[in-house]
Chain length 201, copies 2
């Protein structure tokens, strides 16, 4: 679909609003729904209704609920997209791929990650904070797809814990030498550590 | 030295103050010095001088600077003591011992850990926050003792990152099922993950 087609009024777009205005309105409404109901509780139908558009238009603009969540956070990278590439190649070597993809994506945006973590941990209920909703819903759900066994959700959470802890010390605390270590140096040590949680114990 | 001997006035204790009063005064002074100068920058001599006592009395009450730092934080457990027991048995199996010792110590004090992490991350400069000073100075210094190789400080930091990340999701975010998993379940997965960073890569 071309940009021209988008700007023509479709069945779901409210009269008198441009595609850009509709998108921004959806983000504003979604942000309050995620804050109030959490990721799992928020309904695309309810968000669409409050924004005055059909839910299909949310899918058109943001793909799915994860995409909408990322949009509300104004993230410079899309964690779901990065993870899909990492897990598409299966569990073998996933530890290294995960660390490398994470650092390659976030190293240029360390201050965004830092702000996200601080906001998440200083809000009243950290389980409802958008940053940790991402950890909980996108990252862990994606990791589960590639893991086997009854304990795969626990292992997915412990993999997320490893990534979050590393990012905390590298970006937020800026601990030397971790903060200035090259991606290769971190991958060499942390890849096998994460792989140990990927593999069945 | 018996408690009786302590209450007699020694050469370093200021006239008119009990041992308990002196201890509390040292903690108050030390807290402001750690906040101002960080762990590395704080001087036992300067703390003693401001409290009006000889620095030897700090060693008598708190052992060393780490012990004094822990006292200022009113921690329910002493990370340095726990770690010394873990590393005394050498690098083999240290991953499992570290996870088990950490969880056994902190599970009963989840809310203290949670408060410590939140305080650390919401203070102006996280590198100067007492909670992360502990991570940085006590934990990492202790881990370095048992690790080999040029990259041992980086590996020590990544081990600390794994522990902090796990504690963050278990105690602060209280992510299910990690928050309610038994110590044995977490050790089974996370022990080998930490061991991978302990061992030379």
């Amino acid at each position: 679909m071309t940009q021209d087609a988008v700007t023509k009024r479709g069945p779901g777009r409210p009269r008198g609003f441009s595609a850009q205005e509709t998108r921004e309105r959806l983000i504003t409404v979604a942000r309050s729904h995620f804050a109030k109901s959490g990721f799992a509780g928020a309904s695309l139908r309810a968000i669409g209704a409050e924004a005055g558009v059909d839910a299909s238009l949310i899918r058109y603009h943001f793909g799915d609920k994860s995409g909408l969540l990322v949009a509300t956070m104004e993230l410079p990278v899309n964690p779901a997209e990065i993870l899909q590439k990492v897990i598409a190649q299966g569990p073998e070597g996933m530890g290294e791929r995960l660390v490398r993809a994470f650092l390659t994506s976030w190293d240029p945006h360390a201050e965004v990650f830092s702000a996200m973590i601080r906001t998440a941990l200083t809000s009243g209920d950290p389980q409802q904070a958008p940053g940790l909703q991402v950890a909980q819903q996108i990252v862990i759900a994606a990791l589960r797809q590639v893991l086997d066994g009854d304990d795969r959700l626990l292992r997915a959470e412990l993999i997320a814990a490893q990534i979050i802890g590393m990012a905390l010390l590298r970006y937020v605390v800026q601990l030397a030498p971790l903060a200035s270590a090259s991606i290769d140096e971190v991958v060499a040590i942390y890849g096998p550590a994460i792989q140990a949680a990927v593999d069945r114990s």
